[in-house]
């Protein structure tokens, strides 16, 4: 139930390739989130799984059966759309019943399933209203309800929270997580919001320009992004990057100088870091600390955003922007010179191509 496997799935519209050779296996009752910037092909990938788009190459299998030529309706999947796509001329009840009636299900069972879903989502009071008379959050529940009553093999959710306001988004996110553990069904969730991805997913698939950049659990992505793109995409605020040059490199040990004159020994595993090549050092804003004395990198404060619980400091290190998120409140003023310390920080290193360099820092 709900095991989905994609082998070399590709899609092109005319001469434009939207997806290249996607390989992905989704286990039963797994919560997988497709995340990426807009235009990365994540929605297209979801629609291919749904059967609303035909792949131009590769194979899609659900529970071991190749379904490339099976129409959307017969794949046993249910989808929650970004715009909810509720039928405006039908009542909530009719919206929920429509898909079941199409399968010639007995009326008694339809009523029972609708009742069950309505209780679960607390939309019983609205069953006889039209979608136009509901608030955004209520519509969103109905859209999920329409998927639930179908008892699908897997749920496909296409940016379901993007039309909600920030507050509602948070609570609905929690409800979707609860729903997943309750239904223990496979869910594939598309979003461009990495917070949703981090909080909901068992595994995250990061997509860019039609290719998978990395697949992994939220913490894997956070702690060891395989390339600069994933590093920059996951985590908020974005990871800081410092450009540097390798000064010397010899048998598993290299030394690089970064902006602001910061020198670092790089205990790199492979010897691919030649002398003179460029490397990028990545460090998350939360991991940079404001140093004392004369240790660390010298920086100039550009802007201070005090949020109370933490302080976000925008600094300039030899023309490169470095963001610092310091817990608590700090008495800092723009224009002042400070020292930034990376001593306690987990550091990420990327080579010229942006790929992660394994190291033992």
């Amino acid at each position: 139930m709900g095991h989905i496997k994609l082998t070399n799935v590709a899609k092109s519209f005319g001469s434009i390739d939207v997806l290249h050779e996607i390989n992905l296996e989704i286990a039963d009752s797994e919560f997988v989130v497709f995340v990426g910037p807009s235009g990365c092909g994540k929605s297209t990938l979801l629609r291919i799984i749904a059967g609303l788009e035909k792949p131009t190459g590769g194979e899609l299998a659900i529970d071991g059966k190749v379904v490339n030529s099976v129409p959307a309706a017969d794949r046993g999947l249910a989808m929650v759309f970004q715009s909810y796509a509720l039928y405006p001329h039908m009542s909530v009840r009719q919206n929920l019943a429509f898909g079941l009636e199409n399968t010639k299900m007995p009326t008694a069972e339809i009523t029972e399933r609708i009742g069950e879903a309505a209780r679960m989502l607390e939309i019983e009071r609205y069953l006889d209203r039209r979608p136009g008379q509901l608030s955004g959050g209520q519509r969103q529940r109905v859209a999920i309800g329409r998927a639930i009553v179908r008892r699908p093999v897997a749920f496909l959710l296409d940016e379901p929270l993007s039309n909600l306001d920030a507050e509602l988004r948070g609570s609905t996110r929690a409800e979707i997580a609860a729903l997943h553990s309750r239904l223990s069904a496979t869910m594939i969730y598309v979003t461009h919001d990495q917070v949703e991805a981090m909080t909901l997913a068992d595994r995250i698939v990061v997509l860019r320009a039609g290719r998978i950049e990395q697949i992994g659990t939220p913490m894997e992505l956070y702690n060891s992004p395989t390339n600069r793109f994933v590093a920059g995409f996951i985590g908020s605020p974005h990871m800081n990057f410092l450009e540097g040059t390798v000064e010397s490199s010899s048998s598993g040990k290299a030394v690089a100088t970064f902006a602001g004159g910061h020198r670092l020994d790089l205990p790199v595993d492979d010897a691919s870091v030649a002398t003179g090549s460029r490397v990028t050092l990545g460090v998350r804003p939360q991991h940079v600390s404001i140093g004392t004395g004369t240790e660390g990198i010298s920086a100039k404060i550009k802007l201070v955003e005090a949020l109370g619980s933490e302080t976000i400091v925008h600094t300039d290190v030899a023309g490169q922007k470095i963001l610092v998120v310091a817990p608590g409140q700090h008495d800092l003023a723009p224009g002042a010179d400070i020292r930034l310390s990376l001593s306690a920080a987990p550091l990420h290193l990327f080579n010229e191509k942006g790929l992660r360099l394994e190291h033992a820092l």
């Binding site: 069953l127 006889d128 008379q133």
Partner: protein, 342 residues
């Protein structure tokens, strides 16, 4: 959208009325599911398009193409296979004139009379129609009370059938009609308007303007209302004179809209038939005989009908209309307005 009462039970009347329709629709659904399964979405697209394309093909495209064949054949037989091929004789006959400036010197003198009448009609009617519609639209665009009432006043005749329009005016213009009564009360002699060549021609122009100007007024009015109000306010701040505001702001901004209207009026004027046929029947003599009536009478009505000649004449008229329509499409492309046809 109706406000459904929560917890409502039972069927509403409209739902009850839908029951047979629903049954019929689900009855159709089963075979169509098979079509969908066998031929896919492309097959369904064809299915949805087919009835329209079929009717359209049989009753519009096919006639359009065999019209050329008709124009190349002679005799009185109606069906194409029974007709003899004559090449371009029909066209030659239409253009056989001793003096191209004098319709009477032509073999088909009625055709040239109809062409001449239609030409004069188009020139006069289009000019006056645009003038009247523009003035009416400008007036309706003023800061008026009950604007929608006044707009309705001018729009009223648009919906009337041409036959009704023809009869209304035939009744008013006859010897004991309202017009003569009006003139009589001011001491003028009654006149039998529709027995007079000039006056009956004028009547066809006037009546067709009366019947259709409300329609064009509406389109021009829509164009006027699309002009941003702040432009007028800016002009007022600058102390611009009314006439100058019209010439420098209203007219240039209205131009795209107005051009479309002009071509629309032209296209309709070339095809004038219905109300004139009822009002004057083309008479007296041939003074209000227009092209469509010529084609109709040549093809159907006269004792010695000549469908080939009628087809040839209709193709010549078609050429004019195609040119005008292309002109309209070219003009309307920027403003995204569509043409119209009954």
């Amino acid at each position: 959208m109706t406000a459904d009462v929560p917890g409502r039970t039972g069927l509403s009347l409209s739902e009850l009325a839908m029951v047979p329709v629903r049954l019929a629709m689900s009855f159709i659904d089963a075979p169509l599911r098979w079509v969908q399964k066998t031929f896919g979405l492309g097959g369904m697209a064809t299915f949805f398009l087919l009835p329209n394309m079929l009717i359209f093909g049989i009753f519009v495209l096919l006639p359009f193409f065999i019209n050329f064949a008709y124009s190349m054949t002679g005799g009185t037989a109606l069906f194409l296979p029974d007709r003899s091929f004559v090449g371009t004789d029909q066209y030659a006959r239409l253009f056989d004139c001793a003096n191209y400036l004098d319709p009477n010197s032509c073999v088909e003198d009625t055709f040239w009379t109809a062409v001449g009448n239609t030409g004069w009609f188009v020139v006069l009617q289009v000019t006056l129609m645009i003038g009247f519609s523009l003035v009416t639209a400008l007036i309706l665009n003023r800061d008026l009370r009950a604007r929608s009432f006044w707009r309705a006043v001018f729009f009223f005749p648009v919906l009337l059938s041409p036959v009704v329009v023809g009869l209304i005016w035939k009744w008013i213009l006859q010897r004991q009609g309202l017009l003569n009564f009006g003139l009589f009360s001011f001491g003028f002699e009654p006149h039998v308007w529709l027995n007079d060549r000039t006056w009956s021609f004028a009547a066809t122009v006037g009546v067709s303007i009366w019947a259709h100007m409300g329609f064009y007024t509406l389109i021009i009015l829509a164009g006027l209302q699309a002009i941003p109000k702040d432009l007028y306010e800016a002009a007022e701040m600058d102390g611009t004179r009314t006439s100058r505001v019209f010439l420098r702001i209203t007219l240039p901004l209205l131009m795209p809209n107005l051009l479309v209207v002009i071509v629309l009026v032209l296209i309709r004027a070339v095809q004038i038939f219905d109300e004139v046929y009822v009002l004057t029947g083309g008479g007296p003599g041939t003074s209000t005989l227009y092209l469509t009536q010529y084609i109709y009478e040549t093809g159907f009505a006269t004792q010695l009908r000549n469908p080939g000649l009628a087809a040839a004449a209709s193709i010549l008229m078609g050429v004019v209309l195609v040119v005008l329509t292309l002109l309209q499409l070219g003009l309307s492309r920027p403003s995204e307005k569509k043409g119209s046809r009954k």
